[in-house]
């Protein structure tokens, strides 16, 4: 049987953008490239960057004339479905802004103007990919991908997260090739159960149009099925892997145990719960310090809440930390705590495990499915979370057990295993 040819659509990609999505896409691409013929299209790629086993095309590196020739005689079909596109979109904001809408007519086929140089410029500017007119970027990306796909030879298209779903659907319609969509994070995770709006619509539409949906965990699969009404028969969860990191240990400068929270300070990650957990733990022992590493819209509010709880001398904020500082922090941490309200996967818990740190994590996370050793509780159950932490920092035997089991758990979490599972999904979709 010949190798499957996969056209992958991504949004972030290292080394230009190093968000969680980019890191995951890179890990998947590297592992998949061993098993399939792979081409990846992203809005922005570092000019001249090469990757072993696959080609990466950044729209920012395309020439205007090149696009004009590709575009001849193509009509776009999918945009009529997505109604209104808000101009200002922040996927991490709780409510979508309403200023100025681009309205698309609902008449079915729409002939877009030729790709303008200005459209390509959207992706060559220095502006952050998520900044400015995100809706327009998503739409332009879809148009350009659909046109480009016609000059590629591939068996299926695999799109990663909502920013690329429109493009995936458009490619499917333009070429008739099956579509696989990957769900790394949904609007349900970012904005809660009541999230609706353009992004939600695109996610739902993309998953409905797809031939298979790959969520990053069973937990996220239940979100796709339960919250987006996607047929469970076409949902195939595949856990993320973790790239091995350089592990080292640093001696803390203070005698107390250290409990770490790492992540964006947004409602999704449950930082308020971490504060409450800390206050509960400190009621029982003062031989502990807590650190909240990261930044976000809730930082200032959290600082004040910490002061209000009277834990200001034991609960510390670092603000944003670069990768090196994060690793320095991990190298001295005793317990990792991830009380996320909804965490599609939760790679950071695996990274902590690589540093031999036992984790206390919320049941509402994908990583809970692979970390058998971690202590778990519902995100809202701060008493149970606090009990787990107190147990870990006072019971050396338990601490050792959990750390050892975590070491086992990491061994099974690699991109190789993930790529094998994806390959099976491809075969299923293609009927090979």
């Amino acid at each position: 049987m010949r190798r499957i040819k996969v056209l992958k659509l991504g949004w972030e990609f290292p080394p230009l953008i190093n968000g969680g999505l980019g890191v995951a896409c890179m890990g998947i691409s590297r592992a998949l490239a061993q098993k399939v013929d792979l081409s990846v299209i992203v809005p922005k790629a570092k000019p001249g960057a090469t990757y072993e086993g696959f080609g990466l095309i950044g729209i920012n590196n395309l020439e205007h004339r090149e696009m004009e020739t590709l575009e001849e005689g193509y009509t776009y079909e999918s945009f009529s479905v997505v109604g209104k596109a808000p101009v200002n979109l922040d996927p991490y904001a709780c409510e979508e802004g309403t200023p100025g809408n681009i309205v698309f007519t609902r008449e079915g086929k729409l002939l877009f103007s030729k790709v303008h140089k200005a459209d390509l410029d959207l992706f060559t500017s220095k502006e952050d990919l998520y900044a400015g007119d995100l809706a327009r970027k998503v739409i332009e990306f879809s148009k350009i991908c659909a046109v480009m796909a016609r000059s590629y030879d591939f068996d299926l298209v695999h799109a990663h997260d909502w920013m690329t779903y429109l493009a995936g659907v458009e490619v499917k319609k333009a070429t008739g090739k099956p579509l696989v969509v990957h769900l790394h994070a949904s609007q349900f995770d970012r904005a809660g159960a009541d999230a609706r709006g353009w992004i939600y619509d695109i996610e739902k539409y993309g998953m409905e149009q797809a031939d298979a949906v790959i969520p990053v965990s069973k937990y996220t699969g239940t979100v796709a099925a339960g919250h987006y009404g996607i047929d469970p028969a076409k949902i195939f969860p595949v856990h993320n892997g973790a790239d091995p990191v350089h592990v080292f240990h640093t001696k803390k400068k203070f005698p107390e145990k250290l409990v770490l929270f790492l992540g964006r300070l947004t409602a999704q990650k449950g930082p308020e719960f971490f504060l409450q957990i800390a206050a509960k733990v400190l009621e029982q022992t003062d031989n502990v310090r807590f650190v909240m590493a990261g930044t976000g819209e809730k930082l200032r509010q959290l600082i004040e809440t910490g002061a209000f709880h009277g834990v200001g001398d034991k609960f510390h904020f670092t603000g944003f930390l670069n990768k090196q500082k994060v690793n320095e922090l991990l190298s001295m941490t005793d317990v990792y705590c991830m009380p996320s309200v909804s965490e599609p996967f939760g790679l950071s818990a695996l990274e902590a495990a690589q540093f031999n740190i036992p984790a206390v994590i919320s049941k509402q996370s994908g990583v809970a499915e692979v970390m058998k050793g971690a202590l778990k509780a519902d995100f809202w159950d701060v008493n149970m979370m606090a009990k787990h932490i107190v147990d870990l920092i006072t019971d050396e035997e338990l601490y050792k057990q959990v750390a050892e089991q975590s070491a086992q758990d990491i061994k099974n979490s690699n991109w190789e295993t993930a790529a094998d599972k994806m390959l099976r999904v491809y075969h299923h979709v293609l009927g090979w």
Partner: protein, 394 residues
């Protein structure tokens, strides 16, 4: 008319951005380079030229011009390291015999609100320093930010002070006259000297405010106002930094003061120091101040302890008192006391524009990290003492 003039001089100890990774490192908390540079700049613009002017006025008036200085221990300590010439300049003023030095909490702290024992010790430490540098032991107390209440006045009496300064907001004074000496309830021997808020603020704030009806104020007009005052003594007091720092030389501030003082003297008015006031006059009324007041805009203490960050920081620094003092480690006690300066808490006020930090939240975070480091240091020293004790017993 009798006039009593008091200036207050202080510079904060700004902290370095003390981040989480420094907790337990026992680094030096203060930004010594910045604090030294700021002191130097203010010395050049304000303290040195102001001292020169005051000395000239004393000489020109044959000692008829007198005033009082409340200088914090913090600024004197900074000057010792960074600008010894500043101390010399104050000493020259002291030698004229026309300058009275007032007692303060050494660290310009809020100890009077949080620990009376600590407050007494800081005031003692300050008086020792004043005596050592300027050869006089203060008899009148100027609390940080003119913090005042019945309880604070009672403590000033216990400590043997003849007088204590308070800011005369109309809310506090009710129908009492600002130019009369007062007493706290049940306190007879320690008199309360009330600052004439209105006339003081004319010079401290409004003189440079173009929207003020009297702008531009003539020094002779102001001297007339002083002469027309009724009562025992009019008390004018403000930050010494008004001269040359808050109101730069270009506003004519030094020239204004020279002319104003000379005109006041020429009109036959009489300058008195605070101690001369309390020894010359009896108190005329009872001033009842059950909860603390200060000389801040609203007369309250909320700019130091109004929000949760300030309250948490204050609680945690004073929680350390016993364990820090038990260590008997003089250096550590000094470090702990320097963290009590009111400036640290003022920087955590959300509407404070005068701050070296990017935000009040950063001020709080750096402060709490430094405090956590001190906690660790206290803990370590306690363990060493404990272990040494065990060895001795064995």
């Amino acid at each position: 008319m009798n006039i009593s003039l008091t200036f207050h001089a202080h510079q904060p100890n700004r902290l370095i951005p003390y981040d989480f990774f420094k907790i337990g490192e026992h680094a030096f908390y203060e930004d010594d380079e910045l604090n030294g540079r700021m002191l130097s700049e203010v010395a050049e613009r304000c303290y040195l030229p102001a001292n020169r002017l005051m000395k000239q006025l004393i000489e020109l008036s044959d000692g008829k011009f007198k005033f009082a200085l409340a200088i914090s221990g913090v600024i004197l300590e900074q000057a010792k390291y960074h600008r010894p010439d500043l101390i010399t300049s104050f000493q020259e003023l002291a030698e004229t015999g026309c300058v009275e030095f007032l007692a303060m909490p050494y660290y310009a702290s809020l100890a009077s609100l949080y620990s009376t024992g600590e407050f007494a010790e800081q005031v003692e430490e300050h008086m020792d320093l004043i005596e050592e540098l300027f050869g006089q032991r203060p008899t009148v107390l100027w609390n940080t930010g003119m913090l005042y209440s019945n309880a604070i006045a009672a403590q000033a009496y216990d400590m043997g002070f003849e007088g204590i300064m308070a800011d005369g907001s109309s809310r506090m004074m009710k129908n009492l006259h600002p130019n009369e000496l007062q007493c706290a309830p049940l306190i007879a021997k320690t008199k309360t000297i009330v600052r004439n808020r209105h006339l003081s603020n004319d010079l401290a704030n409004r003189r440079v405010d173009p929207s003020w009806s009297e702008y531009p104020l003539s020094p002779y007009t102001y001297a007339d106002w002083l002469g027309q005052q009724q009562g025992q003594v009019v008390n004018i007091s403000m930050d010494y930094e008004t001269l040359g720092e808050r109101q730069p030389d270009t506003t004519g501030v030094f020239e204004f003061w020279r002319s104003m003082i000379m005109a006041t003297l020429f009109a036959g008015n009489n300058f008195m120091t605070p101690t001369e006031c309390v020894r010359s006059f009896d108190s005329t009324g009872t001033l009842d101040v059950p909860s603390p007041v200060s000389c801040s805009t609203f007369g309250t203490t909320t700019h130091w302890n109004g929000n949760v960050m300030q309250q948490e920081a204050l609680k945690k620094i004073y929680d350390l008192e016993n364990s820090v003092k038990d260590s008997e480690d003089r250096d550590m006690i000094h470090v702990w006391r320097k963290l009590q300066s009111a400036d640290h808490f003022h920087y955590m006020e959300k509407s404070n524009g005068f701050t070296p930090y990017p935000s009040p939240f950063d001020a709080y975070i750096y402060y709490m990290n430094a405090l956590a480091d001190l906690q660790v240091r206290v803990k370590r020293e306690a363990e060493i003492i404990h272990n040494a004790h065990k060895v001795t017993l064995a």
